[in-house]
């Protein structure tokens, strides 16, 4: 009876092994075909999806075949390895210390090791400083003009407003509720000078809330287009509420009240650009922005007139 069971078990095992071998062989076979198929697809013009699927089959076949091989054919195997605690044995540690200390004396020159060591340290630190400071070349920090960069834009009094396409603007070209992205003329669309021209509804603007109450032309008002939060272009205008909305983190600015922050994570309004109309009837800036544009930085309230 017992013998019978053992034989059965052996048969079962052999059969299972046979089956596993067949499966593994099938997997590898799929892999071979898929890889060759991949070559053909690639050479005959290629197709991303088909290539992806064939590559999946080629890799997957090897993965599955090997998986069956190691999990079923080789089967689980558990070994036990000894593990010593991490520190070195006490005598090894002591020995190292002793060997090291005994040679330290050789490094000393007439007992003046300390002095030499200090100088060597000084040399190392100075060299380190001299070699890392050139990293400052990465930015224009020695250029006195560069220090003004965050405060200045390309706008100045008399500069005409142009659209993205470079078209000069007259007040009547923008209907009520329309907005336009504007740049200073001939500035090559300077990124820091981008501004948004809004035609508000008649009488909607509360002039007393504007940094430049005079810098408005018939309901046309201009603000910096760079969000004061993290610098995304403030591009969405909800006309019925006169709100400019930043698409990045949804700061909302009330256009008719000096672009004050209605909600959202930003801490200050969009700076206003004062505008007027020149002799030929084109819209022009009449000054610079009311504050530094874009995301805030630590000395933004200083440097205004420095």
């Amino acid at each position: 009876m017992a013998d019978q069971t053992t034989t059965d078990e052996r048969d079962d095992k052999a059969r299972a092994e046979d089956r596993a071998t067949r499966i593994a062989a099938l997997c590898f076979g799929v892999s071979i075909l898929a890889a060759l198929g991949l070559l053909v697809v690639y050479l005959t013009g290629g197709d991303t999806q088909l290539e992806g699927i064939l590559l999946t089959l080629a890799f997957g076949g090897v993965a599955a075949g090997l998986g069956v091989w190691v999990r079923v054919l080789i089967g689980p195997s558990v070994i036990v390895e000894p593990r010593d605690p991490m520190p070195s044995r006490a005598e090894d540690r002591a020995g190292f210390e002793q060997d090291f200390d005994s040679t330290v004396d050789e490094v000393k020159v007439g007992g003046r090791r300390r002095f030499l060591l200090q100088l060597l340290g000084g040399a190392g630190a100075s060299l380190g400083l001299a070699l890392t400071v050139p990293l400052l070349s990465l930015g224009p920090i020695f250029d006195p003009n560069a220090r003004r960069e965050l405060f200045d834009t390309s706008w100045s009094a008399g500069r005409r407003l142009v659209t993205i396409e470079g078209e000069e603007l007259r007040p009547e070209m923008l209907a009520v509720d329309e907005i336009a992205t504007v740049f200073p003329a001939d500035s090559d669309r300077a990124a820091d000078s981008q501004a948004v021209l809004v035609h508000t509804r008649p009488g909607a603007i509360d002039l007393s809330t504007l940094p430049y109450p005079d810098g408005v032309v018939d309901g046309l008002v201009v603000y910096s287009k760079i969000c004061t939060h993290a610098g995304c272009p403030v591009g969405l205008y909800r006309a019925q509420d006169a709100e400019l909305i930043c698409p990045c983190h949804q700061s909302q600015f009330l256009v008719t009240a000096g672009a004050k922050v209605l909600s959202g994570p930003t801490g200050r309004p969009l700076p206003q650009l004062p505008i007027g109309v020149d002799d030929e009837g084109f819209l022009v800036a009449t000054g610079e922005f009311s504050a530094p544009v874009g995301p805030s930085f630590w000395n933004l309230t200083q440097g205004q007139d420095s």
């Binding site: 699927i53 089959l57 993965a63 599955a64 605690p85 801490g267 995301p295 805030s296 933004l300």
Partner: protein, 457 residues
Amino acid sequence: MTAAPRPEAKDSLLDRIAGWADDRLKLAEGSRKYLRKAFPGHWSFLIGEIAMFALIILLLTGTFLALFYTPDTTPVVYSGPYVPLQGTEISAAYNSVLELSFEVRAGLLFRQIHHWAALVFVAAIVVHMLRIFFTGAFRRPRELNWVVGGILLLLAFGAGFTGYSLPDDLLSGTGLRIGYSALLSVPFVGPLLGYLGIGGEYPGVGVLGRLHILHVMIIPAGLLGLLGAHLFMVVRQKHTQKRTRRAREDNVVGEPLWPNQALTMTSLFFAVAAVLAFLGGVFEINPVWLYGPYEPFEVFAPSQPDWYMGWLEGLLRLWPAWEFTILGVTIPAIFIPSVVVPGILFGIVFAWPWIDARWITGDHAEHHINQRPRDVPARTAFGFAGLTFLLVIFVAGSNDVMAAALQTPLDTLTTVLRWAAIVLPVLAGLAAYRIAERLNQPVEAAPSSTVPAAKST
């Protein structure tokens, strides 16, 4: 199956190569014991390997991509096969990515595999770290390796961020813009850092070239170097193991490296490759041609960053608009959520092994047997609280999409999420603590009515 040694086996090619090498490098002596190195066999021990395999695939596909990419912002007129952009003036960089996607055979496949692999890479690192955290595998002597793992995660973020910015499409510029603004917000040194980072005021000078070098050289070098250190420490300290009948602090119970573990690992590598090939081949990712070229005055809405940046995005959206100026020094609204809070979070992560030993367990001894989450309720509670916080701010990263879907005013939703970010972590932590304690109660002490089904027979 016959194990009888064949006489000619001695002279097989493999033998001769191995012999040749050993004659010159004395390899057999040192390598022999590694054949029988024990690998504790719990599935969760393989997650770190998934990260490593994703990294290998990133390096291979990335090398291919690098052969076609140019980090050049010179304007060119697009004349490739993608009709909607034909005749548009775009940067040479964007042009090279379009060319790679539409004209280079298998280019799009490798580009998409690369992007998917990056997502999987970060995900695997995070899950791996969670496993380490909740099982206390960071405890002495492995504190340093935990820190190295944390730096690897930061480098993975850096690799993702720089890579995302390279195509010079509309979406890539947005991430860069926000990153620069965070740098700029640092009190006193922000403008300086900003200038050094991008070579001047935004959009800077030659930024793509810098990002490119970071992405293809400096960060990968850091990743590989630290991965080497990581693995060295694992081999040196040997693996931790699950508590079992045979596992003790002074042994390692597991499968031998050869053949079991080696073949399992190879199989896993191919499995990871297969999954990534499938994702990259079938699921479109980052279709830069749809976003159009980068223009500083345009934005793609609703813009969503890669998943692992979602928590930062959420922090930026949830943090109240607190901006103030003291003595002429302005603290920008984004400084706290984009610099300070992430700094604190990562600070806690890095310091965790010491925090844990000092305040949670008071246990400074060496350990090689892992704990179950229930064994240290306080740690588990803290972990769940942290995870819940991250989850809430992650969700907040798409509050505009959610508000639209739920037809709720955005402000209401933001307020709710703010409270959720404070309250839910506390609740989750308390719940985790209670559950862990409950599980710890000896079975006899439990009220008999709740367990008999499982215990009878």
